[in-house]
């Protein structure tokens, strides 16, 4: 047997084994999150080592409790509101900014990239202390709108940067043609640039949605009133306040995870592009 064949065989064995291991390690926590959310508490206490799930006796108690008793319907609505607002503001301001940086000439264009890099590398914990102080001082801290503003500030640089890269790849001649036909700059952006940028805008929107939906630290520090909690904030509250709450926390975790995974399933290509272009901060 030649070395080529021998080594190829070894690699094949390792590849199959490796894929199985990675598959199991990546999928198992999600599997367990779902399975344990459908088990009654007694089952988890008595048989913690039972990894299976009896599909004939699914237990929906955890979901009922989380959604109805612990107010998670409200948290879902809050999370949606915060994330969608962040997307709307970040994408529209990012489009304007990205276009300006690409097409228009103005002094001081060069500092732009350095600024993006700085925001990118800035630890959230360094920002959270002064922002907490400022907003507490102003009496504005416990507010979903302030949270949206903070999320917008942190996603905008990446939105501008990603859209700038996209606009640079559009041939300016199309826009000149539009202007010759009598469109203003605003008209060109609205009628020509934005329709041509739908995939890039989708990437930015997905990326921004995910950041806002998943965010924990600022929601945790800023929100005090349970009525205003986002899902992440609500889950931490639930885990800390209810005794023997594992199955509830898992049901709540399924609620917060499933929308993101579904989005990812449908828009994997756009999202991966967003991740690699913007290199999701995390």
């Amino acid at each position: 047997m030649s070395r080529e064949i021998f080594e190829t065989q070894i690699i094949r064995v390792f590849r199959v084994g490796g894929l199985v291991v990675f598959f199991a390690a990546a999928a198992f926590p999600f599997y367990w999150m779902i399975v344990s959310s459908f088990k009654p508490l007694e089952e988890l206490l008595l048989h913690p080592e039972n990894l299976g799930l009896d599909l004939r006796s699914l237990d929906f108690t955890s979901y009922r409790q989380v959604l109805l008793k612990h107010g998670f319907f409200r948290y879902i609505a809050n999370s949606l509101y915060v994330s969608l607002m962040t997307v709307a503001v970040s994408v529209s301001l990012g489009t304007l900014g990205g276009y300006a940086v690409t097409r228009l000439r103005f002094p001081g264009k060069g500092i732009f990239s350095a600024g993006v890099l700085l925001v990118y590398m800035l630890p959230a914990i360094v920002l959270v202390v002064p922002l907490y102080v400022i907003f507490t001082h102003l009496g504005l801290r416990d507010s979903l709108h302030v949270l949206v503003l903070v999320y917008v500030a942190q996603t905008l640089p990446v939105s501008v940067y990603m859209l700038k890269n996209h606009f640079q790849a559009l041939p300016p001649e199309i826009e000149y043609a539009g202007m010759v036909d009598g469109c203003s700059r605003a008209g060109v952006i609205w009628r020509v640039v934005i329709p041509l940028s739908a995939p890039a805008l989708a990437s930015v929107a997905l990326y921004t949605f995910m950041i806002a939906w998943n965010e924990f630290l600022f929601a945790f520090m800023f929100l005090d009133t349970p009525d205003k909690f986002t899902l992440s904030r609500g889950i931490v509250q639930l885990a800390g306040s209810v005794h023997l709450s594992k199955q509830l926390v898992m049901a709540a975790s399924v609620v917060v995870t499933v929308p993101v995974l579904i989005l990812f399933l449908f828009f994997e290509r756009q999202l991966v592009r967003g991740l690699t272009a913007g290199a999701l901060k995390g």
Binding site: G97, L122, V126, V129, Y132, L275
Partner: protein, 314 residues
């Protein structure tokens, strides 16, 4: 004509200003200003109760906060933990990412599905995956923990996220291992390997097939081709990844906060910032600790920028 061009340019820069202004104002107000103001806070004796008062704006600067942070007897331990966590977490996630990238690089049935699944740890909400892992490894109710006991891998359930040390019996001797720290590093590897996977995969697909064919003609086996072609081609992406992961792991707060709360030998610098500011209600000391983190970060960013500019020159 000359005049016309000039006004066009003036008009354009005014328009650009209008278009950029909202974004600029938001980022300046909510990112740059707080960062700068952090310096001011770090030089003042501010407690959490003093936040609503006027004392916030008085001068009366002091270096006491820095003295407090730098002479904290916990600081050397925090520094060591931070270093171990940051280097360990970065390297582990990149190593896993590299392995995963090599595994899914070649076409096979179900590849798109597997690749998508491998990326999911990275995009799921941190709160959900942190609580799931601490549940899985819980000493009382953790399924893997009990499975380990049942199959005889473990003598007894292990408190992965709350035991600082564990004695591991090897043939001949026992060795203490910093368990909670290793567990959070393991979590770091699990959560962030997809980031490395995406970048390495993109680079792998850009390596020209000719290189491999030529090497095969010259008699290089698969292993030799990996070590002499693939790895050298990946060198710069691996270096960039390490830098990014290093900076982001250094900045990381959520993961350790949710998994261990900074207990059991996992108190890194970001957790220390939180402890000062919101645990001990000493905003000034928290800001000073944040400045320390910022300073360390600055060194790495300067190094990165220098490295990037050198690459561009080449």
């Amino acid at each position: 004509m000359d005049m016309g061009l000039k006004t066009l340019q003036e008009r354009e820069s005014r328009l650009a200003l209008y278009m950029l202004a909202p974004a600029l104002v938001i980022v300046l107000l909510l990112v740059f200003f707080p960062t700068a103001w952090n310096i001011w806070l770090s030089l003042k004796p501010v407690s959490l109760e003093g936040l609503r008062g006027e004392g916030l704006w008085n001068a009366g600067l002091t270096l006491r906060n820095y003295q407090k942070v730098l002479s904290d007897p916990e600081l050397p331990g925090v520094a060591a933990t931070t270093l171990a966590y940051t280097v360990g977490g970065s390297l582990f996630s990149i190593l896993l990412g590299l392995t995963a990238a090599l595994l899914v690089h070649k076409e096979f049935p179900g590849r798109a599905f597997i690749r998508g699944l491998l990326i999911s740890p990275y995009i799921a909400p941190i709160v959900a995956v942190a609580f799931t892992w601490s549940f899985i490894l819980d000493p009382q109710l953790g399924c893997l923990n009990w499975l380990g006991v049942k199959t005889g891998v473990l003598d007894q359930p292990v408190a992965f996220f709350s035991a600082r040390w564990i004695q591991v019996r090897l043939p001949g001797f026992t060795m203490p291992i910093p368990l909670a720290l290793l567990s959070v590093i393991f979590f770091e590897g699990w959560r962030y390997f997809p980031f490395a996977l995406l970048f390495i995969l993109a680079r792998l697909q850009a390596i020209p097939e000719d290189l491999y064919r030529a090497a095969a003609v010259d008699g290089a086996g698969p292993f030799q081709r990996f070590f002499h072609i693939t790895l050298p081609q990946l060198r710069s992406v691996l270096a960039t990844l390490f830098l990014f992961r290093f900076i982001w792991t250094l900045n990381k707060f959520d993961d350790i906060f949710l998994l261990t709360g900074g207990e059991a030998g996992t108190r890194v610098l970001t957790l220390k910032v939180y402890d000062y500011a919101f645990g001990a209600f000493d905003i000034g000391a928290g800001s000073a600790a944040a400045m320390l983190l910022f300073f360390i970060l600055g060194i790495f960013m300067a190094g990165y920028l220098r490295w990037v500019t050198r690459q561009e020159v080449r």
